[in-house]
């Protein structure tokens, strides 16, 4: 095993391959305070990439109700349990450092039927049913399979907190799927860090499905090989005519009506970490404001999806899910500083990938107290630029609110 540095757990760790890094890395931020589980992202992806035979159960993008739902069901609970069994009582953070075992380190201690490079399991066919079964998915009447209940069915109503967790492949820096593949059929693209399956090499052993902690590689029975989220790479490469050759965000990002998503390509430095890029929106949210956090960083794959945690959820649960930065992230989000408020306005304002932003200071609008802290709102203008430095979006902190009149509701 090679030793690699994982900044999210603040230490070196063991990984089956030597350290190699792309020039840029596909990364994204999802604001979970805003997700309403409309599943528009889910269907945007489905209708683009997974509408064919053998892909019926595949949802490369899914939105699940936490802590109740999961796709596949129980994916995170099962792996957390396996890690705890392998390292009882030891899966702990000490400040920013994770002192427990990652899925690569725990695999060496795991006693099972076969040796594993990556600690994991294969979900059952039943667990793969539907992106949010029992939550958004209507049930058939008991004892009457494959038929809808004509009198209607009732979805569960939760009496307490929950939130929606939107997920795609995290295009991890140290992918579990890549590490687990016995045929080296999975690779990270050097130009953008997108993780892809080489379908010529893949033999459908499903080791990647076992090894991906987020369960984002999927088996296609009609071709007997694996498939996964490709980060809409033709759009990322600027091959969609709409953007005239410039990088474009993925289908799931662009369609988000809740405006919870922002995608970017961050610069990777010589040391393999994110190169300083102060006015890159993703860099700012993750590294400067520290308001967006990785999903289950303790798994050790250094996922490149980041989440602004939902502020009403019990902190212990959030810390297990997003690591030790939760308190800071929520406090920062609840009373946002001037720059953060402006950068949050960039979410879902353009289909182009934003590489740099600029803020032009605007007038003071009001002074007040937000959650007991002094706060001043400035109507700043935020401008986003593409990879060539061309302006692609310009908006203000105080955006005008337009309501389409009834007579024009269906006029698009």
């Amino acid at each position: 095993m090679a030793q690699v540095y994982n900044w999210q757990i603040h230490r070196r760790m063991e990984y089956p391959h030597a350290e190699h890094h792309p020039q840029r890395q596909f990364a994204f931020v999802f604001n979970l305070n805003r997700c309403i589980a409309c599943q528009t992202c889910t269907f945007a992806c489905k209708s683009t990439w997974t509408f064919s035979k053998g892909q019926e159960y595949m949802w490369w993008n899914n939105v699940e109700t936490k802590p109740y739902g999961g796709y596949p069901q129980f994916w995170d609970v099962k792996l957390l349990n396996m890690l705890e069994e392998t390292n009882p009582g030891g899966q702990k953070w000490n400040g920013k450092t994770f002192e427990g075992k990652t899925i690569f380190e725990a695999a060496q201690k795991h006693i099972g039927e076969e040796p594993q490079r990556v600690l994991g399991y294969l979900p059952t066919d039943e667990e793969w049913r539907f992106p949010n079964i029992y939550e958004d998915t209507a049930l058939s009447r008991k004892g009457v399979p494959d038929a809808y209940d004509k009198e209607g069915v009732k979805l569960p109503e939760h009496r307490t907190w929950f939130f929606y967790l939107a997920r795609i492949c995290n295009h991890c820096t140290y992918p579990g799927c890549l590490a687990a593949c016995p045929r080296n059929a999975i690779y990270k693209r050097p130009e953008d860090g997108v993780v892809l399956v080489d379908q010529e090499r893949c033999r459908g052993y499903r080791k990647c499905m076992e090894g991906c902690p987020y369960k984002k590689t999927m088996y296609r029975p009609t071709t007997r090989i694996m498939e996964k989220c490709i980060a809409c790479y033709p759009r990322l490469e600027g091959r969609d005519p709409e953007t005239g050759g410039r990088p474009m965000e993925t289908r799931c990002m662009v369609e988000c009506i809740g405006q919870i998503r922002l995608q970017g390509l961050v610069k990777i430095g010589k040391d393999g970490g994110w190169a300083e890029d102060r006015y890159h929106p993703i860099y700012y949210l993750v590294k400067i404001a520290k308001v967006a956090l990785p999903l289950y960083p303790q798994f050790g794959t250094e996922p490149n999806g980041y989440y602004i945690p939902p502020r009403w959820v019990p902190r212990a649960y959030l810390k297990q899910m997003f690591g030790p930065g939760v308190d800071h992230a929520i406090e920062t989000y609840m009373v946002p500083e001037r720059e953060l408020l402006a950068v949050l306005q960039l979410f879902r304002k353009t289909t182009r990938v934003i590489f740099r932003y600029e803020i032009k200071e605007g007038p003071k609008v009001f002074e007040t107290e937000i959650h007991g802290k002094p706060f001043t709102l400035y109507n700043d203008t935020v401008i986003g630029y593409d990879d060539l430095g061309t302006e692609v979006i310009r908006t203000q902190v105080e955006e005008p609110f337009h309501v389409r009149p009834n007579i024009h509701q269906n006029s698009i």
Binding site: Y134, W161, W312, P314, T368
Partner: protein
Amino acid sequence: MPKSEFDPEDPIEFIGVQLRGQSEAALRDMTLCFAEEFVREGWDEEKIFAVFRNPFYQGPYLAWKQKGDEFIRSVIGDAIRMWRPDEGRI
């Protein structure tokens, strides 16, 4: 097959199980968060209130169902006072 009986002792089976961590404060914070997000988007009180009354928005709706009109309006009012203070506007 879907189950109609739930086992509260089953650590994996969350469906229909009441979770620890339920409190009035958490429920109010969830309500306030939804209200603040929409106030920041520029929505007015009536539009935000309609979201809470709509069963298709499960989060807001669960708060309205448990706490009723008065509570929801008061929380929306708090969010509006925070993010749209008439006093202090320059």
